[in-house]
């Protein structure tokens, strides 16, 4: 579904390329997590996949980014809006300011896609229920807490039913139960098989539990790519400034004290840690 070939991107006025010679393929239905230290290029990759780079930010592109058989650089942002949905890191920046209610905000994207009114109403109601926003439907998006705004931002994109769902730290302001609910919804969407999910996240334990695949960026380059367990258990993550899950940290400490036998992979989830220490 997504294919990058020697893809590089440089913001206007910058000397360095924020993304450098990326080569990767993400299949439809895959739930792919991206991790990296701050400044590694994760958000820029989100912008590149959704066309904001270069169409909004301008700048220089080298190589190719394919969405199916179409080159993203050749598509307009309007063309891309129906195909790729981007949930912004800062939900506040995503709110259109053009609608007075949460319901109107979620409908805004659908109106711009030209859907019939009846379909818009149905989809908005579905997403309000899915994201547990029905009680807030008639409130102004600007009166909501950070966490509530984040759920509205996700709902606005889910309503558009994009083929590629790109989420840049979508749960940073949500409480743990809200975070779990969002991850379950994203997992359900990806398991339907026709939506590709690209998710940037610092909280490794959530990717460990939900992502099929994890890709590591470092200074704009792809440096690791594999299953969630294989990548997240790697000792190299510490050197890359990403850190590791607390389960891996505890297992590593226990291994050094010879309290547990050396596992082939350090645990990255609660269940894996329980199995090691049991």
């Amino acid at each position: 579904m997504i294919s990058l070939q020697d893809f590089s991107y440089r913001y206007p006025g910058q000397q360095h390329f924020a993304l450098q010679q990326l080569n990767l393929e993400i299949k439809a239905g895959q739930f792919c997590g991206f991790i990296g230290a701050n400044g590694a290029g994760k958000s820029t990759l989100c912008y590149a996949l959704s066309g904001f780079a270069p169409h909004f930010f301008r700048g220089e592109v080298r190589g190719r980014a394919w969405l199916g058989k179409k080159n993203i650089s050749d598509l307009s942002l309007a063309d891309l809006a129906g195909e790729v949905g981007l949930v912004f890191q800062n939900a506040f920046n995503q709110i259109s300011g053009a609608r007075f209610t949460v319901r109107g905000e979620i409908a805004f994207g659908l109106e711009n896609l030209g859907l019939a009114r009846r379909r818009i109403v149905t989809r908005v109601d579905e997403v309000l229920a899915l994201m547990d926003l029905a009680d807030l439907a008639d409130r102004s998006p600007y009166e909501l807490s950070g966490g509530q705004q984040q759920r509205v931002a996700i709902a606005s994109i889910l309503a558009m039913q994009p083929k590629v769902l790109v989420l840049d730290e979508p749960v940073s302001q949500l409480d743990p139960h809200g975070t779990q609910a969002v991850f379950k919804i994203i997992e359900m969407i990806s398991q339907r098989g026709d939506t590709t999910v690209v998710l940037v996240e610092h909280k490794l334990e959530w990717l460990a539990a939900y992502a099929d695949r994890v890709i590591v960026l470092d200074h704009g380059r792809l440096v690791m790519d594999g299953t969630a367990r294989a990548v997240l258990a790697s000792a190299d993550l510490v050197k890359l400034g990403i850190g590791r899950t607390l389960y891996s940290e505890a297992a590593d400490l226990a291994r050094n004290k010879k309290l547990v036998s050396a596992p082939s992979h350090l645990p990255v989830t609660l269940n894996q840690a329980q199995a090691l220490f049991q």
Binding site: Q89, E169, P176, L253, L270
Partner: protein
């Protein structure tokens, strides 16, 4: 400096009752984590402490000041506030001007403003970006800049609303070090966070909120081990507590180091019996 909240209720203009008769006393030099689900009233509570909001009923004391008798500007000399969204507090043309704004408005001499600005930028690691426009920075840097602006005001009470959002491992460690340094200086610290593992590293006391009320208040290891109580506030215990509970280990280890210590002691006891 002490902070005291006495029978405080707060109702927004929309009619939403965000706080319902809250009592909370925080001693000078304490680091208190405030946790709870979205909409529990955490941010409303701390906005009453720095005067951005005023109680509908009850009183809020910052030291010997009843907040109803002081302006927000006056309260800013006692309470520093790091907003959840840094974009709500940044407005200057350069990083240096942004950080200097607070101490300058508190009436410090230019030499002191310069020294405080430099020190705060050094603490958050942004000294080399002093002349950069804040809006040319990445979101995680803007959060650190907002933190520097709060630190530069050198207030006895500091409120941090989700300080670790968007930070990588190095950024989280840096913020942990800054909070530990402030604790040593006897500052009173209030920390709102959904990240209980982060709270466990820096706070000694935890307050759990749900539906505008306090559900629990006590030593952090005691509060964070009460799974059922935390569930009422839509909060999960820290990862190490969850692991210890699965293994039926005694106690509530909050960090990997504490967990390994508990596990080692439990294993030795089991071997002996």
């Amino acid at each position: 400096m002490k902070v005291k909240v006495e029978r405080v209720s707060f109702v927004y203009h929309s009619g939403v009752r965000a706080l319902d008769s809250i009592d909370l006393a925080i001693s000078s030099g304490e680091t208190v984590a405030i946790v709870g689900e979205n909409g529990a009233g955490k941010t409303t509570l701390v906005k009453l402490i720095n005067g951005l909001l005023r109680p509908t009923a009850g009183r809020v004391w910052v030291g010997n000041w009843d907040t109803k008798d002081f302006t927000t500007a006056q309260l800013a000399t006692r309470v520093g506030f790091l907003f959840q969204n840094p974009d709500e507090q940044l407005f200057e043309r350069s990083v240096e001007r942004e950080v200097a704004f607070g101490p300058r408005n508190l009436g410090f001499s230019e030499a002191k403003v310069k020294a405080k600005t430099r020190r705060a930028l050094q603490q958050v690691g942004l000294l080399d970006k002093a002349q950069v426009n804040p809006y040319d920075m990445q979101p995680f840097e803007r959060k650190l800049l907002a933190l520097a602006s709060t630190l530069a005001m050198d207030t006895p009470v500091l409120v941090f609303d989700e300080p670790s959002i968007g930070q990588d491992a190095a950024g989280r460690r840096r913020i942990q070090r800054i909070l530990a340094g402030l604790h040593k200086l006897d500052r009173t610290l209030l920390l709102i966070s959904h990240d209980l593992d982060f709270c466990a590293q820096v706070a000694t006391r935890a307050v759990v909120m749900a539906g505008g009320r306090l559900l629990a208040d006590g030593p952090i290891s005691k509060v964070f081990s009460q799974t059922e109580l935390l569930a009422q506030a839509a909060v999960s215990p820290p990862q190490m507590v969850r692991l210890a509970q699965r293994l039926k280990l005694p106690g509530a280890p909050l960090t990997p180091r504490q967990f390994v210590h508990t596990y080692s002691a439990w294993r030795n006891r089991r071997k002996r019996t």
